[in-house]
């Protein structure tokens, strides 16, 4: 059995005359976390709604775990867990009641409902709030209940639409690590418009723009491409500026103040390792060395600009 859990082919969606999703196709395998990037209104949510059966496609095919979603919606949907942008919660129910209901409508066998709910709560850190009403929980906890809802029936595919929006930094970190963990034994599709989020949690990435899939690659390749050709260097015992300028491959140095410098280097080089070695050997008190990445905007603009002529390679 192959491990392609989501297979999308020629998927299109029109809203009246407007095209929201234009013949996109992709695959997600077990153990992959796919980051689905794009500015607001690019068609991320429409695509996710189609994969989860909330929206009928205008054209195209969707297979979930080898089952055609359009021909066999019930069978295919048992393998999907979906967290929409707004977590679909019944605020008047307690966490336990709600998760039991979710397990039941996802056709979890009666005998294992209790176990499934306990597993989902454990996984999402909800053990302390089981009897509490969802409406009284904080936003972060509600978001976790939303994720618990998506995993309670142990689906093969988990689809999360902007799962970290509106959370505080600690909650964001927890949710991201939860997603990475889920990615080990499920296929996870995660939509966001935050590039670093994808860099931190995903191993594959695809970018959608105005309904078209404009980029698809692994995260390590993305990191290569998104690198700006610049490093931020922080030193506690800095040498003369000229010493920094003579570092290998460094083309110019901009002081950032506070004993930090921005070192510009050739776009396709990565002198970080050499610089680190030199800084340590010379006892400059190395305290920061960070490659700079483009923001999603920049990266996105670059990709859409390069796209028509992929062979051209401006150094």
């Amino acid at each position: 059995m192959n491990n392609v859990l989501v297979k999308v082919e020629h998927l299109s969606r029109y809203y009246g005359p407007n095209i929201a999703v234009n013949t996109i196709g992709f695959e997600v395998r077990r153990g992959e976390v796919l980051g689905f990037l794009g500015p607001n209104g690019a068609g991320k949510t429409s695509t996710m709604q189609m994969i989860t059966g909330n929206l009928a496609p205008s054209a195209g095919r969707i297979e979930i775990g080898g089952v055609d979603l359009l021909d066999n919606p019930k069978q295919a949907k048992t393998q999907i867990g979906y967290l929409p942008e707004l977590p679909p919660l019944y605020r008047e129910l307690s966490v336990d009641e709600y998760l039991q209901f979710c397990a039941r409508i996802h056709r979890v066998p009666k005998t294992s409902i209790h176990k499934s709910v306990a597993y989902a709560k454990e996984r999402c850190g909800l053990n302390d709030v089981g009897p509490r009403l969802i409406g009284n929980l904080s936003k972060g906890y509600q978001q976790r209940v939303g994720i618990a809802q998506a995993i309670v029936h142990l689906p093969a595919v988990i689809v999360l639409d902007e799962p970290t929006v509106g959370l505080d930094p600690i909650q964001i970190r927890e949710i991201r690590s939860l997603i990475r963990e889920l990615g080990k034994d499920h296929a996870v599709i995660l939509s966001t418009h935050i590039l670093p989020e994808v860099q931190m949690t995903c191993d594959h990435v695809q970018i959608i723009s105005k309904g078209n899939l404009v980029y698809r690659d692994t995260i390590s390749n993305l990191n290569q491409q998104a690198r700006l050709g610049a490093l931020t260097l922080g030193l506690n015992h800095p040498p003369e500026l000229s010493a920094l300028q003579s570092l290998p491959q460094v083309q110019s140095v901009e002081p950032l103040g506070n004993q930090r410098w921005k070192l510009l280097h050739a776009h396709n080089a990565n002198p970080a390792q050499e610089i680190a070695t030199i800084a340590v050997n010379q006892q400059w008190g190395l305290c920061e060395l960070t490659p700079e990445y483009k923001s999603l905007e920049q990266f996105f603009v670059d990709i859409t600009m390069i796209e028509p002529k992929p062979e051209a390679n401006p150094a």
Partner: protein, 249 residues
């Protein structure tokens, strides 16, 4: 699946105060009508006695009580059905059901059954009043059964209409008001437009006229069919509307 959704619906109704308040108010008001009708039976001066007839206590209390109840539920049902879909659309919880392996038909039927559970509770509370007379004497149980069945068909029809209206909007208030106006119209068209020759058509539309046979103790299959077709029509409309949303987004 249908019953899982139905039980969830019923539970959500009863964890909010609205179901309790409505049931209590309804009972409080109707008990006066019931008391009044019992009193009427024992009043030697009452109209029915003076005409030399004796319709019996069941015929005096049952239809009278349920007739007033059928007017009150015009106010009660819209408040119960308003949230069913509009609230789920507003909060986004409808997508939980949509992405679950259940069909739209099952969702709509589940909601309808859930509300029907509530209707049964309401029906039981009202029926207890005339049935309490059994402690003191005999009742025409056949007549009472016809009245109760007619009343249940009527509130099920209200519920199906309210459920459909609730799929049309995200605002529960709008759903409640529209349902209320439509129910008032459907109950009283024949009274408002009585002079025209087309009165028979209007009286055929009117939900109230279909109740009359039941309230006279006749188990009228013709009228029962009317209610059942009414219910099925609005359930199908609700299913079609939700399916249309999936198609059109």
């Amino acid at each position: 699946m249908i019953f899982t959704i139905a039980l969830r619906e019923l539970r959500s109704l009863f964890v909010s105060p609205i179901a309790w308040v409505l049931l209590a108010l309804m009972q409080f008001v109707l008990v006066f009508f019931f008391g009044g009708s019992v009193e009427m039976y024992f009043d030697p001066q009452s109209q029915v006695r003076m005409h030399g007839q004796d319709p019996g206590i069941t015929a005096l209390t049952g239809p009278f009580l349920f007739f007033w109840a059928s007017l009150f539920v015009v106010l009660v049902i819209p408040l119960l059905t308003m949230k069913v879909f509009s609230e789920e659309k507003r909060t986004g919880s409808l997508s939980l059901l949509r992405s679950a392996p259940v069909s739209i038909t099952e969702i709509v039927l589940g909601k309808f059954v859930g509300l029907s559970y509530f209707n049964l509770i309401l029906l039981a509370l009202i029926s207890v009043m005339p049935l309490s007379l059994l402690l003191f004497g005999k009742l025409d149980l056949g007549l009472l059964a016809a009245v109760i069945i007619g009343f249940f068909l009527l509130i099920s029809s209200y519920t199906a209409l309210g459920l459909f209206i609730s799929t049309l909007t995200r605002s529960p208030i709008v759903a409640a008001v529209v349902t209320l106006l439509l129910l008032l119209f459907l109950m009283f068209v024949d009274l408002v437009i009585v002079q025209q020759n087309s009165a028979s058509a209007f009286s055929y539309i009117s939900l109230r006229t279909h109740l009359e046979q039941f309230f006279m103790g006749v188990f009228s299959t013709k009228d029962m069919l009317y209610f059942i077709i009414f219910i099925i029509t609005f359930l199908i409309l609700a299913i079609a509307k939700l399916d249309y949303e999936r198609q059109q987004g």
